[in-house]
């Protein structure tokens, strides 16, 4: 049934395109119900498969000539991310309720993107995964280029080229793995158990990992992220930061690390102080954490602050992956979920609640508007989102960063201190943004031009949805942990575990 998340989204896209008449309401409502159906299916699937076992959904031959199958399956990690996609999709539509230009196209592209994202998370055939991964690229371009703001065309092109260049590397890795494994199958399960030669893994791993990590915003390939996020319309930034960056991280884990675990082994020599890819990528991840946070601290554009914060938070995902221990990996997956929700919320506040009303994102200008008093709901939402984002206990971010940090203590003790520094800078920029945007002291009283329409019902609904998600998973982490941990313990990741114990 889970496969229907994909089909429904694509069908929804078609339905929206051919929605009758000029009325935009039909398109909106159709899109909303499509996304809701996806979320519903995801929730049902999680309830049914609460132990996170690997379950095959569909498996049928696709290109028998090459042994490629149409194989959809889900384990706990997939389910976690499918759930995230569902939540983010619904929230995104709620926050784009005020789109007035080319409404049908907007929601159609949006749903295509959602469907592709579901597809990536559910694919268990490598080529199929790649196909969905690529399908997701094009809607991103148009969403940003048509409905975006600051330097939209540049940002959209940059984003697409980065993603596509990354996926070129991935494709090279996939083809290489396919050939080495005898050119008979691209089934992920089969490949996970195939004994790839260590020397092959040693170069295939970085190829594929970097390819995916580009989309996960790994430093120094992150530069598409802030510009892309800033330019994108609210719903697209929510999806970009919330879900699309997770595609990259998911690929890193599901493909690069699961198939080529020995690529993380020691090289046997040291170059520039590094002894293995594990160390290289861990250092890049930590740099990303600190760098993203630092740059966010000095941004004037509100959206850029959030954009760079995404780079920083995705650094935690990559760092968690590179710890190679169970708790670090589960932290990484948890962070994928958590950041998906939180980034969505942050972008919703910045893009929809604030920008659509004030038409400025300049923090200095915003500090002259007493936003905290004019739209208190936005202020409270942003405060909650910031708290979740900096990883205060009680929010999902805490559980995630906690695990990543524990894992890092084990693998790279000193890096956990640097990551801690990153968190601190993160706290600083969140606080700065909160103060400047909502509690600016420069303006004491509202001037007549500062009369903003009140927060609408869809906005409230979307905000509640995301806030509840982050708090529930923050207070009751077992909800996701029981999905994630058994999957990490499954036979699929055996190679990774064996490598870690060595």
């Amino acid at each position: 049934m889970l496969a229907w998340t994909i089909y429904i989204s694509f069908l929804g896209a078609i339905a929206v395109t051919f929605a009758p008449g000029k009325s935009t309401a039909v398109a909106r409502v159709t899109a909303l119900f499509t996304a809701l159906a996806g979320l519903g299916i995801a929730i049902v699937a999680v309830v049914h498969n609460h132990s996170g076992e690997l379950t095959t959904i569909v498996r049928t031959s696709w290109i028998p000539q090459l042994g490629i199958e149409y194989h959809l399956a889900a384990d706990g990690i997939s389910l976690t991310l499918v759930l995230l996609t569902g939540v983010a999709a619904v929230a995104g539509i709620l926050f784009s309720w005020n789109i007035e230009r080319r409404v049908k196209e907007f929601f159609a592209l949006y749903l295509v993107l959602i469907g592709a994202v579901y597809g990536v998370f559910l694919s268990f055939d490598l080529l199929l995964l790649f196909v969905f991964y690529e399908i997701a690229i094009i809607p991103k371009y148009f969403l940003i280029a048509i409905w975006g703001s600051t330097r939209r065309e540049y940002a959209a092109m940059k984003l697409v080229l980065y993603s596509f260049a990354g996926s070129a590397l991935v494709l090279a890795g996939i083809i290489a793995a396919y050939c080495v494994a005898g050119a008979r199958t691209l089934n992920l399960e089969a490949l996970a158990h195939f004994p790839f030669p260590a020397s092959f893994q040693m170069w295939a791993f970085p190829l594929v990992f970097v390819g995916f990590a580009v989309l996960a915003g790994m430093w120094p390939f992150h530069t598409w992220a802030p510009t892309g996020h800033a330019a994108a319309p609210t719903a697209a930034s929510m999806l970009l930061a919330g879900v699309v960056m997770k595609l990259g991280a998911y690929g890193c884990l599901r493909v690069a690390m699961m198939l080529f675990p020995r690529g993380l082994d020691s090289w046997g020599f040291r170059a520039l102080g590094f002894g293995s890819w594990q160390q290289v990528f861990a250092v890049l991840a930590v740099i990303g954490i600190v760098y993203g946070a630092t740059i966010a601290l000095v941004q004037r554009d509100f959206k850029f602050v959030i954009g760079y914060s995404s780079v920083s938070h995705m650094g935690f995902v990559l760092l968690g992956l590179m710890t190679l221990n169970r708790i670090g990996l589960s932290g990484a997956v948890y962070q994928m979920f958590s950041h998906g929700i939180v980034a969505g919320l942050l972008f919703a506040v910045v893009g929809r609640m604030v920008y659509d009303r004030t038409h400025t994102r300049d923090l200095r200008e915003l500090s002259r508007i007493p936003l905290g008093r004019l739209i208190p709901f936005a202020a409270v939402t942003f405060a909650v989102a910031s708290m979740a984002s900096i990883g205060l206990p009680g929010f999902s971010g805490f559980i995630a960063e906690l695990q990543v940090l524990i894992g890092t203590w084990q693998s790279f003790p000193w890096m956990s201190c640097v990551a801690g520094l990153g968190i601190l800078i993160g706290i600083a920029f969140s606080w700065r943004a909160l103060q400047a945007a909502f509690f600016g002291d420069a303006a004491k009283t509202a001037t007549p031009e500062h009369v903003f329409p009140p927060i609408t019902f869809p906005e409230r609904l979307g905000a509640y949805l995301l806030i509840v998600s982050t708090i529930v998973t923050g207070l009751y982490p077992r909800l996701l942990m029981d999905l994630i941990l058994p999957s990490l313990n499954s036979a699929l990741f055996e190679g990774l575990r064996r490598g870690a114990s060595r």
Binding site: I327, S330, A383, M387, I390, L392, P393, G394, F398, I399, L402, Q403, L405, I406, W409, Q410, P413, W414, S416, C417, G420, I423, L424, I427, A428, W431, Q435, F439, D441, Y476, P477, R478, M481, L485
Partner: protein, 536 residues
């Protein structure tokens, strides 16, 4: 694991502690909802909830077995076992004392909050329902912090209690509030993160976040061996790693207490926060740091404290002496009391560091330890009551003077407002440690105990005691005596309501000064447990 909890502690079938923790949370939400409709109702509801919390605390006080030193009223639920997170709360004398402090001070703070919108300082928005709700949320966070026995569970409330405090300062503070709140935020967050990192490493080594379990492991030496086995950092030995972790944890609490030189956030935060909030900040929030020292550092790292005692004692002495001098140089009443707060908590740190000493290192050590620990806890209580009362008086003074609170702005007030002057004088003398008032037993016991454990530091700290007397007497002289300026000739004295509200606080100052056994009796079992635990 579960064998730990099969102790002879009275098993309560009603989850009193959870109920107590969530009561203010519910109260705060109720106040928020009510606040939209009716302002006075919100205020009444806030008072009711705070009073109910106090009532439950008194009930617990009555039902606690003072002779038993272990945890009572324990509740234990699995939460997220994979990351060592459990819902584990318990109560011993120390926790109960802290609960009492929290509920009293928050109640005072709510009582003191200004309901009328005719605020003199136009910078200060009305302390409406949101303000009251934040205070109640703060109380909830405090209750959780003081009863939690699992690090993560504790940390959750530790951080959550900060959030209301931030916003209380940020939104209702004085002119420099943005800066003050930012400083407060950054300082405490730095401390928290370092503390968290240290504990994550401990969890990695020991596999548990449970305070009781960790204390047991520390006592038996298992913790050190676990750290040696599981953490391999650059071939450091277990002792060194443990020491690093100790300093990390220390930093977290030192910022919070604060210990000089980590106190940079405090003066501005206390001065810029509305005085009614400062009551809660100084009354309870600063106690969280000392509580951390007692509940976490002392039982888990006694040997490390012993190893680092010279430095730690210097920190303590600095915290006692330097703020006293600084306070002398201040002219803002709130700043003076802020520095005096550091000074008073410095005594606590002194007592705690002195206690970390092997039992067999001299005669009478156990008795001295018991005295010092009892002193520390008494001091916590006394400082909370005194400081909260003092800031209340400042709030009342500010209200009358239109925001003025400088040392040199007043003079001769005792002639026009005798009741005010008399009552505030009592509080000042209590803060100074005059025998017969609440401040005396604590400080006396600390000095008595610490002198035999760490004589030189105690001797140096006496200097601080002296300076405290000096600057507190200066206040008496400048504000209440001397010529009365024309400006204040018609300043009104305390109203009847204010007198009635203040009376319980002043009464406590006398009662607890004369009968400290009321508290120390309740603490007896806990102190003995501590003495045994720290006798590594």
């Amino acid at each position: 694991m579960s064998s730990l909890f099969v102790s002879r502690s009275p098993v309560s079938n009603f989850p009193w502690l959870s109920a107590l923790t969530f009561l203010p949370l519910i109260g705060g939400s109720a106040v928020l909802l009510l606040g939209r409709a009716r302002r006075s109702a919100a205020r009444l509801a806030a008072l009711t909830f705070a009073a109910a919390a106090l009532a439950i605390t008194i009930l617990l006080w009555c039902r606690l077995d003072p002779a038993f030193g272990g945890m009572q009223f324990q509740e234990w639920h699995s939460w997220a076992p994979d990351i060592g997170l459990q819902y584990h709360v318990g109560l011993d004398g120390l926790s109960l004392l802290m609960l009492a402090i929290s509920s009293i001070v928050v109640l005072m703070s709510i009582a003191a909050s200004q309901s009328d919108s005719q605020n003199d300082s136009k910078n200060n928005p009305e302390q409406g329902s949101a303000y009251l709700a934040l205070l109640l949320f703060l109380e909830s966070g405090l209750f959780g912090t003081f009863t939690a026995l699992n690090f993560l569970h504790w940390f959750l409330f530790w951080e959550l209690s900060l959030i209301p405090a931030f916003f209380l300062i940020r939104l209702w503070g004085g002119a420099g509030r943005a800066r003050a709140a930012t400083r407060f935020f950054i300082y405490t967050m730095v401390g928290s993160i370092i503390l968290l990192l240290a504990f994550l490493a401990i969890f990695l080594a020991s596999g548990t976040f449970d305070f009781i379990e960790l204390a047991r492991m520390a006592q038996t030496g298992q913790l050190a061996s676990a750290i040696g086995q599981n953490l391999h950092w650059h071939q450091w030995d277990a002792g060194r790693i443990t020491m690093v972790l100790f300093w990390g944890a220390f930093l977290g609490f030192a910022v919070k207490t604060p210990v000089v030189p980590f106190h940079g956030w405090l003066p501005s935060a206390y001065a810029e926060a509305p005085s009614e909030t400062t009551m809660a900040l100084t009354g309870v929030l600063s106690k969280m740091g000392v509580y951390g020292f007692l509940r976490i550092l002392l039982p888990i790292f006694p040997a490390q404290m012993w190893r680092g005692r010279t430095i730690l004692l210097w920190f303590a002495v600095a915290s006692v002496v330097l703020p006293a001098f600084t306070a002398w140089a201040q002219t803002d009443l709130k700043r003076i009391f802020a520095y005096s707060s550091i000074n008073h908590l410095g005594y606590c740190i002194l007592g705690i560091v002195a206690v970390a000493r092997p039992l067999g290192s001299g005669p009478g050590v156990a008795a001295a330890k018991a005295a010092a620990l009892t002193g520390v806890m008494l001091q916590l209580f006394s400082h909370a009551i005194t400081a909260a009362t003092l800031f209340w008086f400042v709030a009342l003074l500010e209200k009358r003077s239109g925001g003025l609170r400088g040392l040199n702005d007043f003079g001769g007030l005792r002639r026009v407002m005798p009741v005010f002057s008399g009552m505030m004088g009592i509080a000042l003398f209590a803060s100074l440690g005059l025998p017969g008032l609440i401040g005396f037993p604590g400080e006396f016991l600390i000095f008595k105990g610490a002198f035999s454990l760490a004589w030189w530091a105690t001797a140096l700290a006496l200097l601080g005691l002296l300076m405290t007397a000096v600057f507190l007497l200066t206040i008496l002289q400048r504000v209440f005596s001397g010529p009365l300026s024309e400006r204040w000739a018609s300043i009104p004295d305390l109203t009847l309501t204010e007198r009635l509200l203040l009376a319980p606080g002043v009464a406590l100052i006398f009662v607890m000064g004369l009968y400290p056994q009321l508290i120390s009796g309740m603490l007896h079992g806990t102190v003995m447990q501590f003495v045994a635990q720290v006798g590594f």
